[in-house]
Symmetry: C2
Subunit: 601 residues, 2 copies
C-alpha cells in the first residue's frame, strides 16, 4: 500500500500547542523534521486563550512574542465578588487584586484565541522552512525495532501514515517520535500507556461572547460566587469576554452530558449568577461544554525514542488556564533536548530527563487543579478561602516555582562553591529581565535576545568592569574559555556587566566575549550592561537576581531557559565537567551504527 | 483608446511614503479611493531608512507601528569624532550625546529599510481593502473642468491612465487627485508648477553595508570629521550600517556625476575618513550616489482639487533623514482632510490649509538642510559649531516645534479664555503619552489608541474625578455634549482623568463618555486614567502637558494629532462654533450639483 518513504530525524504528530512548540524548537536547524496533523488546516477558533508570561517568553524566543502581543489582551486585575450578607446575599465586589507577580516584572497573563496563537506558530514554521508540515495526515501504524534504539544513527521507529483525503499511505522512518496528538492521543493508546486519574467527570460550560452588560468588572478577570453558582470571566481581544461556568454545581459523578448543553444554557447560568446585573450576548463566536477529566499518563516516554507531550499525557480543567501553557512547556522541554542530542551528538541519556522533569509538573498540576476546581464549585466558600486558593494558584501557574530535579542537565549547587546571596537555583527558570546593549544602548528583554537555537548559553556576570580587579578576572576567564571550553561546547557566551555602559569599550574585552566572524565582523550582541536605559528605566539585574557585583557569577543556561548550574569565577572548571558528562557514554561509540543492544525498558 | 472608466473620490498617484500614507488614511472608509503606481510591485530595497518618532506615531495610528518596530533598529546615541590636535590630527571621539528629546519620552528615531516600511504599508492597505491598488499604471493625461470645481459632488478631473505592460488605457474621473509621484513628478510637470531652488547639485554617496571594522562606535549614530572629509553612519536592522559621504568634499557646482560613482569609491572615501580604523564590507546590499537638489514647489495644490505631496514638492539632502518623514507628514495632512471633506460633507475651504500648513514646513526644511549640509561638508568646522547645528537639527526634525498657522482648523487661543500653564498650543502636535484604561487597567500610548479614522477627537481632561466639584462639572459637560455637540459632529470623545483609577467607576460617568452601541454594549475604550500602571510606570500626562487638575482642560484634536483648539470647561461653547464654521458655506448648497462657478485660481 505504501507509495512513498521518508527518513526523518524527528516526526511530530499533532500541530496543537505541544506539537507546534516542539516543531518551532527546530527552526534554523538542518535536521529533518516533519510535523503531521489530521486536521486539514491550522485551528481556526476557540479552545484555550490564556498565555502565562512563561509561555510568552517561549514565544519571544521563537521571535513571535511581539506578533502575539500586538493583538492580545493583557490581564491586569482580578476582582472577587461574593454574596453580601448585609444585603440579603446580593453579590458585591469584595476585593480587587493586581494580577501581578513581583518577580515577573510584567503582566502575568495575556489572552488571545488559541486558533490565532497556533496560526502564528504555523506561519513561523513556514517562514523558517526547517520543518515540513503535512496536514490531513494521520498515523495508522508504528513499529519500533528494539534492537536499534541505542544506536544514535539508527531510525528505530517506522510509521505508516495516511492522507485522510486521498487515502494514500507513506512510510516514515524516524529517529525520534513526539506525540502531541491531544487528549485522545492515538500514540498513547497505540503504546497502551495507562492514563489514570479521575474518570468521572465534572461538567463545565465555556463561552466567548461580546457582552452587553452593566456588570462593572466585565473587562477584568473576575470570579463571582453567588448563591446559585460561580462564574469566572476573562477579558479577551476584540471586545470578547470568556466565561467559565460549572454546569452541575460542581458535583462530581454527574449525569449531565456535555454535548447536550446548548450555548443558551451556559448564558442563562451566567445570568443567574450575575443577577441583579444584566448580561446579554450580542455575539457568541464560540462556546463549548465538556466533562473534565483529571488524568496523568503513566509514562511520558518509551525507550527515550518516543515521547508524549501536552494533553496526550495530562488533562484537567481549563480553570487555571494551564492546558495550553503546560503543553507549550512540554513541547519546549522535549524540543531542544532532541535537537541537542541530534545536532551535538550528545548522550541520549539526557532524554530521560523529559519524563523526570515534566511528569511531576503534570502531577502537581492535577493536584492543584483538583483543589482549585472544588473552590470554584463550592457554594459555601468564604472570600478568604478563595483568595488563598487563588494566590496559591497564581504562584503555581506562573511557573516560577517549578524546580526540575538534579540530573545530567541540572547540577545541584554545593553550598561551599556557591557565591553568596544568589537567587538563581539550578533547575529553576531564569527570570526575564531587561539589559542594555553595550554597543548601541538599546534595552532588550533577556528572552527576546535568547532566541531558541538549541545551544547552551553561558551568562557571565563579571560585576563592575570599571574596577581593575574585576576587569582582570574577566579577562582571565576569557582566556580560559577561549582555550578550554568555547571551541567544543557550542556555547553561546553572553556578558551582563554592572559598570556604567560608558566606562566599557567592547573592543577592549577578550574576543571570546564578542566573537569574530569573517562573514559579519565582530558580534555586537553578546555584551550587555545592567545599566539605566534612555527610555525604559533600569533592569537592576544584579539586584533582582541576587548577584554580587564584587564576586560576579557564571550561570549555565539550558536552551529552554532553565538553569543547569551556577558557580563563581574560580569554579569555572565545573563547566568543563558538565559538558564532558553530556558526551555519549562508552556503551555506544558515537557515530557507530548497530551498536550493542541495551534497551531502556 | 480608453477601454474602461472608473469614478473615484480620490485618485492617488504614486505608492511611495507620501502616497501610501495618504492611502492608509482611508482605511475603514467607504469612499472610493484608488492608488496607482508605475512600478510593478512595492519597493524592494533601499532609499531612506530613518523613521522619526512623529512618523512612528502615524504608523501607530494606522495599526502598523508595532510591526515596523519589531524589525527596526532604535538609534539611542550619537557620537562625534574630530581630529585630535594633540595627536597630529588623528580622529578621536569628542562627545557622546544621548539621541533623545526629553519631550518625546521615547526613542527619537528608529531605522528600517524604506522598502520594508512601504511593504508593511501596502499590506495594511490590502488588509483593510478600502483602497484599490493598481501597479504598472501611470497617468498620461489629465483634464480638469474648471466649471465643476466648486461643486462638492462633481468629478472635475478626468485622468487617462495606462497599464505599462499591456498598454491598455483607462479613464478615471476623480473628485480629488493627490500626486505623490516623487521628485520627477509627472503631475507637477503636467501642471507646470515651478520647482525652484538650488539647481546646481552637490554629490553624495550612500551605502548600506555589513561592516567588518574596529571602529568602536559602528553601532551608534556617528559623525566623523577628519581632515579628508566627513562620514555619517547610522545603525540599521540586520547588522547593517548606513553610511553617508560627501563625494565632492562639499563643494557646490560640482562636475562629479552621481551615476559615475561606483560603490568601491564610496567605501574608499569612508575608509580614508575613518583611518586609522579599518573598515571592510562583507556585504553591500544597496548603495547609491546622487546629486542633491534643494527645491520647493511654488504650489502644493491647484483649485483645492489636485494636491502634490512628498518629493514631488520638495527635495533636499538625505542627511537629516527628512525625505521619507516629511513625505509621510504631507500624506497624513492631506489624507484626513480629503476624507473629512468627503465623509462629513464639510467646507472644501479647509483644504487650502494643506498648502498653508505644509509649504512653510518644506521651506523651513530646505533652509535647515542648506545650513546642515554645509556643516557636514566643511572641513574646518569645530566640534562646538557642529554640535550646535546638530542639536538645532534634532529639535527641528522631531517635528515637535512645528506650529501650523491659524486657519479654519487651528484656532488661536485668546489668553483670556485659556486655563493657566497649558503647554498645548493650537497648531502644534499633541505629544504622545501613556494613559491607563479605566476598565481593564491596561496602559496604552495615546497614538496606539488614537487610530486614524478621519474624525476629530475631543480630549476631556476633567481633573481629579474623586473630587465632588470636579465630578459635577464633568457630569454637566457630559449633559451639554450629549444634547448639543456629540450627535452631529462625528466627534470621538476621550476622557483622561486624574483620579486614582480605583476611585472611579466607568458606569457612574455620563453615557456620552462611554457610548452605548446595540451591537457591542458599552464602550470600554474611551475613559483613561492618568495613573500608575502595574508594569509600565506613570504617564504623568497632566504634569507633562501642563494641565491643571483643578481647572481641567478640553483639547480638540484633529485626526492627524494636531491641536485645533484648547479651552476651559466654561468655554466649551467654542467647540460648537468650531464645527459650525466647518459646515459648507452658502456659496454652494451641500449636495447640489453644477453649483455656481467660483474658481479658487
Ligand atoms: C473545547 C475545549 C475548550 C478548552 N478550553 C480551554 C481553556 O479555556 N483553557 C485552557 O487552558 N485549555 C483549554 N482547553 C484545553 C487546551 O486547548 C489544550 O490543553 C491544548 O490545546 C493542548 O494542546 P496539545 O497540543 O497537547 O493538544 P491539542 O491542542 O489537542 O492538539 C492536538 C493536535 O493533534 C492532532 N491530532 C489528534 N489526533 C491525531 C492523529 N491521530 N493524527 C494526527 N494528528 C492528530 C489534532 O488535530 C490537534 O491539532 C480546551 C480544550 C477544548 C477541547
Ligand atoms: C537613491 C535614493 C536614496 C535616498 N536616501 C535617503 C535617505 O537616506 N534618507 C532620506 O530621508 N531620504 C532618502 N531618499 C529620499 C526618500 O527616499 C524620499 O524622500 C521619499 O521616498 C519620498 O517619498 P515620496 O512618496 O514623496 O516619493 P517616492 O518615494 O519617490 O515615491 C514616488 C512613487 O511614485 C511612483 N511614480 C513616479 N512617477 C510615476 C508616474 N508617472 N506614474 C505613477 N507612479 C509614479 C514611483 O514609482 C514611486 O513609487 C533617497 C532617495 C533616493 C532616490
Amino acid at each position: 500500500m505504501a507509495t512513498a518513504t521518508d527518513d526523518v530525524d524527528v516526526l511530530i504528530i499533532g500541530a496543537g500547542p505541544a506539537g507546534l512548540t516542539t516543531a518551532n524548537s527546530f527552526n534554523g536547524s538542518r535536521l529533518r523534521v516533519r510535523l503531521i496533523d489530521i486536521k486539514a488546516a491550522p485551528l481556526q477558533v476557540g479552545r484555550a486563550d490564556g498565555l502565562k508570561s512563561i509561555s510568552m517568553e517561549v514565544l519571544d524566543s521563537f521571535g513571535i512574542g511581539d506578533t502575539i502581543l500586538k493583538d492580545a489582551q493583557p490581564c491586569e486585575e482580578i476582582v472577587l465578588w461574593n454574596p453580601d450578607p448585609k444585603r440579603d446575599g446580593v453579590i458585591s465586589r469584595t476585593m480587587t487584586i493586581p494580577d501581578r507577580v513581583e518577580e515577573l516584572g510584567k503582566a502575568r497573563e495575556v489572552t488571545l484565541d488559541q486558533g490565532q496563537i497556533e496560526r502564528v506558530m504555523v506561519e513561523n514554521l513556514y517562514k523558517h522552512g526547517s520543518v515540513r508540515v503535512s496536514w490531513n495526515t494521520q498515523p495508522v501504524a508504528l513499529h519500533t525495532d528494539l534492537s536499534r534504539i541505542d544506536d544514535p544513527e539508527a531510525y528505530p521507529s517506522t510509521l505508516t501514515v495516511q492522507n485522510t483525503e486521498t487515502g494514500i499511505r507513506e512510510t516514515i522512518r524516524a529517529k525520534y517520535v513526539v506525540g502531541g496528538d491531544g487528549a485522545h492521543s492515538w500514540l498513547r493508546k497505540y503504546l497502551k500507556i495507562g492514563f489514570s486519574g479521575d474518570l468521572t467527570d465534572s461538567t463545565w460550560g465555556v463561552m466567548n461572547l461580546v457582552p452587553k452588560t452593566n456588570f462593572p468588572d466585565i473587562r477584568k478577570v473576575f470570579v463571582v460566587h453567588s448563591k446559585v453558582g460561580t462564574v469566572m470571566g476573562v477579558p479577551r481581544e476584540n471586545k470578547l469576554v470568556r466565561l467559565y461556568i460549572s454546569m452541575d454545581g460542581g458535583t462530581r459523578h454527574t449525569s449531565i452530558k456535555a454535548q447536550n448543553i446548548a450555548p443558551e444554557e451556559i448564558l442563562e447560568a451566567a445570568q443567574a449568577i450575575l443577577a441583579p446585573y444584566t448580561l446579554e450576548a450580542s455575539r457568541i463566536p464560540w462556546s463549548s461544554a465538556y466533562n473534565v477529566g483529571q488524568r496523568v499518563a503513566d509514562e511520558f516516554a518509551r525507550y527515550d525514542r518516543i515521547f508524549l507531550a501536552g494533553d496526550a499525557v495530562h488533562t484537567h480543567s481549563p480553570k487555571a488556564g494551564q492546558g495550553m501553557n503546560t503543553s507549550i512547556q512540554d513541547g519546549y522541554n522535549i524540543g531542544w533536548k532532541l535537537r541537542y542530542v541530534l545536532e551535538q551528538k550528545a548522550d541520549r541519556g539526557l532524554l530521560s530527563t523529559y519524563q523526570s522533569e515534566r511528569r511531576p509538573v503534570a502531577q502537581a498540576l492535577i493536584d492543584f487543579d483538583k483543589a482549585y476546581l472544588e473552590y470554584f464549585a463550592r457554594k459555601d466558600i468564604t472570600h478568604d478561602e478563595f483568595l488563598d486558593a487563588y494566590l496559591a494558584g497564581q504562584a503555581f501557574t506562573t511557573g516560577i516555582h517549578i524546580q526540575y530535579p538534579p540530573s545530567l542537565l541540572v547540577r545541584p549547587v554545593s553550598t561551599k562553591s556557591q557565591p553568596r546571596a544568589v537567587k538563581l537555583a539550578p533547575g529553576k527558570r531564569l527570570p526575564d529581565f531587561q539589559m542594555v546593549n553595550q554597543s548601541d544602548a538599546v534595552p532588550i528583554q533577556a528572552y527576546h535576545r535568547f532566541t531558541s537555537h538549541g545551544r547552551f548559553r553561558l551568562l557571565v556576570f563579571p560585576g563592575d568592569l570599571s574596577q581593575g580587579v574585576t576587569f582582570s578576572r574577566y579577562i582571565q576567564l576569557g582566556e580560559w574559555l577561549a582555550s578550554s571550553l568555547a571551541p567544543s561546547s557550542g556555547l553561546e557566551i553572553i556578558t551582563i556587566h554592572a559598570a556604567k555602559r560608558g566606562y566599557v569599550e567592547l573592543l577592549d574585552l577578550h574576543p571570546v566575549f564578542r566573537p569574530w566572524s569573517d562573514e559579519e565582523g565582530w558580534d555586537y550582541w553578546c555584551v550587555y550592561a545592567d545599566d539605566e536605559s534612555y527610555h525604559k528605566g533600569h533592569g537592576r539585574v544584579y539586584e533582582r537576581l541576587g548577584i554580587s557585583k564584587e564576586e560576579g557569577l557564571l550561570v549555565l543556561l539550558r536552551p529552554d531557559g532553565y538553569i543547569s548550574l551556577t558557580c563563581g569565577f574560580e569554579k569555572a572548571g565545573s563547566l568543563v565537567d558538565f559538558f564532558k558528562e553530556l558526551k555519549p557514554k562508552s556503551r555506544t561509540r558515537p557515530g557507530a551504527t548497530g551498536g550493542g543492544r541495551q534497551s531502556n525498558l
